[in-house]
Amino acid sequence: MSATATSPLPGRGTPGTESTAEVQATSGKPVLWKTPVMLSALGIVAFIFFGLMGSDKTAKFGISTGGDFFQLPAVEVPSMAGGIVLSVIMLGLAAYAVFLKTRDRPVPTWLTITFTVLFVAAFLIWVVGGARTPSISLAGLIAGSVTLAVPLVFGSLSGVLCERVGVVNIAIEGQLLGGAFTAAIVASVTQNPFVGLLAAAVAGAAVSMVLAAFSIKYLVNQIIVGVVLNVLVSGVTGFLFSTVMQEDKARFNSPPGLEIVEIPVLSGIPIIGPILFKQSVVGYLMYVAVIVVWVGLFKTKWGLRVRAVGEHPQAADTMGIKVNATRFWNVTLGGAIAGIGGSFFTLVAIDSFTKEISGGRGFIALAALIFGRWNPIGAFFAALLFGFADNLQSIVTIIGTPVPSQFMAMLPYLVTVLAVAGLVGRSRPPAASGIPYVKG
């Protein structure tokens, strides 16, 4: 009978299930050669430079610092042998990625991460092995990375909050700088770093409100507003710095710093201790902020609404959610977070404000947020990676390597480019990011 092909019965379910299977089978994105090729190339580079051209010295990595409550022995690795072993494993991983591609299967995330870790390790062994004093403190390297990453993490959290709600925040740099300046001047005048911290949040929020007002209410292109804000904040803080701060440095530009708060016992755990339990208030706030933003975005009612507004504002509107108000307050909140990140420069890292103290870190934070795929945790680790590259270049320059220091100074930015362009798969920003919402 004809029922097989053309049954007019209104049977529910059957066509749905059939086409669901079909859709799922075809919805997979095409697997690209990009990652396998990139991994292979890096593997070969590692093998030649870190392995074959490695030094014959032994690289020594200190794990414990003097303050630890128990001591671990330093790790010693023969530079050339270590480089060869690690790069061979890397080549193996790359070959597996190529194999997967020939089977039209994507490269799994664990492989990319393992590869990255191995590459960094091989690079370290090579650089340290080739240095005049082939010894560094791993604990110091990592702790320093976290310190350098603090403003980046705050900046990228700000970006996550803004983009998740549908507003592109190019003004992170301006928010950091505004926060740094305000923290310095307010803390100096009040002689209270906590008031400075609060003022930094307000300053960041104020910069963000301008972004929010222009891009949400007046529908000005968000990229342009962001860029203009960066220039504006840079100009205003620079002007006030030379006209006010320089005139009376003692009164306006000598903020009392935020002390490092050490948590007894816990801070003595090797490597982890200094990272988690030996931070300034801003450092602790960073961990809290990452967790709170992540939980907030993905586990709460607020987060569901925020993400809906950033993905499909009209759908949110028809469900009774006030799209533009949600956007405005989220962008403001993002600015406040970036402002706190900015205070790190003047209240923790350095004890005074100088022109352009944020030095482009707002843009690195932007890269971290993309590398972290618009996820607070992802952005945190991405920021750590950039902080690590930043710290590595300064340490390596100190211990004296054969690599020219100018090249090492490129490292953070090189890592940024590689990370964003190569290792990230096709990442998908919130669908309505950058598009103003107009009712009707």
């Binding site: 209104p10 529910r12 607020w302 569901l304 993400r307």
Partner: protein
């Protein structure tokens, strides 16, 4: 909360569950600038009814529903629920009052799961604002079981077929205890089979006490499910109708003049065969043979309609003729000139007129004016161009003639084409293609998303072109349209030609052929089953 006008504010959840709701729109007027979209509209939706708002595209149905749903504020008039006036400041108020809406373009977040989409805006939370999606999953399952929806709460919406997405929209409304469900052109995106399923769901909802406002211009569906029909034309209620009224009567009321739904078409007088396709094969970038060894010919003064379920090679076939496909093998002869391997411009200059299947993407440039769109194929030829300069006066003059001739409803030819309604856009495309002497006319989905009044007009123009002695090829997934226009019917299945049959072939046989069953077998089976609607859903 300060919502003094909403009577439901005092209701508890329990009382709302059993409440049946009477909805009345009284004198609703909505103006956009100078445009009067709704003009004193009165509609009463009695509890537990399927109330159809019938009207052509652009008649003001959607505007009216957006007013009812709180998305627009009415310029005048009031909404009454159970005879008490209410004011909606936003969709939230409307939902709280028991009104749910399924929009024509779904309001679902593609990257969210079904549960997240359903929860959005009406989240149940644990202490501290944490989402309680388990509660939402349970509700989805409950509704899904009650109506046999078969929806997985944890599936990502973007992975679901359109029909299932629509059910998610209905669940969204039901979870919010909607007592009146507005369905805005719900069948526009559905296959015939999914449409039947939806109509069935509507009946079930009605029997469980949900009133439905069904917005449509598809007469067959309206007649199948409605209890009451209100006809809207150009922003005004022109009267109510009974679902028992004849299709012709309903169509005439909707369009405002007598329409004949059956096309008045004289038998074809085919002349010489000037268009021949031989062993045509098109290979897609992924290596698939999208058109696979097709041969047919069309005579002057004849309409060949190509039937088939969407995605069986129709698009590639037309694109191959136009020169838009890269890997084309075989031969396409028009007036004994080979078209394979020619540029699109050569093909057009050989006298091929082409109406693409998606007018907004391939047929028009939405931001260009109507006048400019009308000369897209001849902007560089006299009288529109002299050397390197264009003559805007001539372009506008041409537009005036075409707009009159094709009855395009627009105040001016200088308006952007994108502002026109679907039917009027299609008239612009058709006017452009038919306004030069043709040796072959191809129209793909000539009346998709077009109102009844325009369909009639467009069909007449296609037949007129045939009667002038042009070979005409129509590609349509609507079997009704194929059967109405065709002098011969070619059926495509998976890129292959299943067969070419004469115009009088039955719906059931065609349906089977569209599923790939050859004509002889189909005819045998078709007689065996001989059901009147058979094959429609193939």
């Amino acid at each position: 909360m300060l919502q003094p006008h909403i009577p439901s504010g005092t209701d508890t959840d329990a009382s709302r569950l059993v409440r049946v709701l009477k909805l009345e729109l009284r004198g609703i007027t909505k103006r956009f600038g100078t445009l009067l979209a709704n003009d004193h509209i009165d509609v009463v939706v009695e509890p537990g009814q399927i109330h159809c708002l019938l009207g052509e595209n652009g008649a003001g149905k959607s505007t009216l529903m957006n007013v009812l749903y709180g998305l627009y504020e009415p310029t005048e008039g009031e909404i009454l629920i159970d005879d008490k006036p209410v004011t909606f400041r936003g969709p939230g108020d409307a939902m709280a009052a028991g009104i749910g809406m399924v929009h024509q373009h779904f309001m679902l977040v593609p990257v969210f799961t079904v549960a997240e989409n359903v929860a959005l805006g009406a989240e149940t939370t644990k202490a501290g604002g944490f989402l309680n999606l388990d509660d939402t999953r349970r509700k989805i399952k409950e509704i899904s079981d009650r109506y046999g929806f078969d929806v997985d709460p944890d599936a990502l919406v973007e992975d679901l077929p359109v029909g299932v997405q629509q059910r998610v929209e209905i669940i969204k409304a039901l979870v919010r205890d909607a007592r009146v469900l507005i369905l805005d052109e719900p069948t526009a995106v559905l296959t015939p089979q999914e449409t039947d399923e939806l109509l069935d769901i509507m009946r079930q909802l009605k029997s469980s006490g949900t009133s439905i406002v069904f917005i449509s211009h598809k007469l067959r569906e309206v007649k199948a499910v409605s209890d009451t029909i209100t006809v809207i034309r150009r922003g005004k209620v022109v009267g109510s109708a009974d679902p028992g009224d004849s299709t012709t009567a309903l169509a005439s009321m909707m369009v405002g003049r007598a329409v004949s739904l059956t096309l008045d078409k004289s038998p074809a007088k085919p002349l010489e065969k000037t268009f021949q396709v031989k062993d045509l094969t098109v290979i897609a970038p992924n290596g698939q043979h999208t058109v696979d060894g097709i041969s047919f010919d069309i005579a002057r003064g004849e309409i060949l309609a190509v039937a088939g379920v969407q995605g069986n090679g129709q698009t590639e076939l037309t694109e191959a003729i136009l020169g838009l496909q890269e890997r084309v093998y075989g031969s396409i002869l028009l007036d004994n000139v080979e078209l394979v391997g020619r540029s699109v411009k050569d093909v057009l200059n050989a006298g091929v007129g082409f109406v693409p299947e998606d007018r907004s993407v391939d047929g028009l440039i939405g931001t260009f004016s109507i006048a400019e769109n009308l000369v897209l194929d001849r902007y560089d030829q006299p009288p529109f161009a002299k050397g390197i300069s264009m003559s805007p006066a001539k372009v506008l003059e041409n537009a005036k003639t075409r707009i009159d001739e094709f009855d395009v409803r627009t105040p001016s030819g200088l308006l952007a084409a994108g502002t026109l309604s679907g039917g009027n856009q299609q008239k612009v495309v058709m006017a452009r293609e038919l306004s030069r002497p043709l040796r072959l006319f191809i129209a793909s989905q000539p009346t998709r998303g077009v109102d009844v009044g325009s369909i009639e007009f467009l069909h007449k123009r296609i037949v007129a072109e045939r009667d002038q002695g042009t070979p005409v090829m129509i590609i349509s997934t609507e079997l009704d349209e194929v059967m109405e226009l065709a002098d011969r019917i070619a059926v495509l299945y998976k890129g292959k030609l299943v067969g070419i049959v004469p115009a009088g072939t039955g719906r059931d046989v065609l349906g089977l052929m569209m599923a790939g069953i050859p004509q002889e077998d189909a005819a045998a089976e078709g007689h065996a089953t001989a059901s009147p609607e058979g094959g429609e859903n193939a």
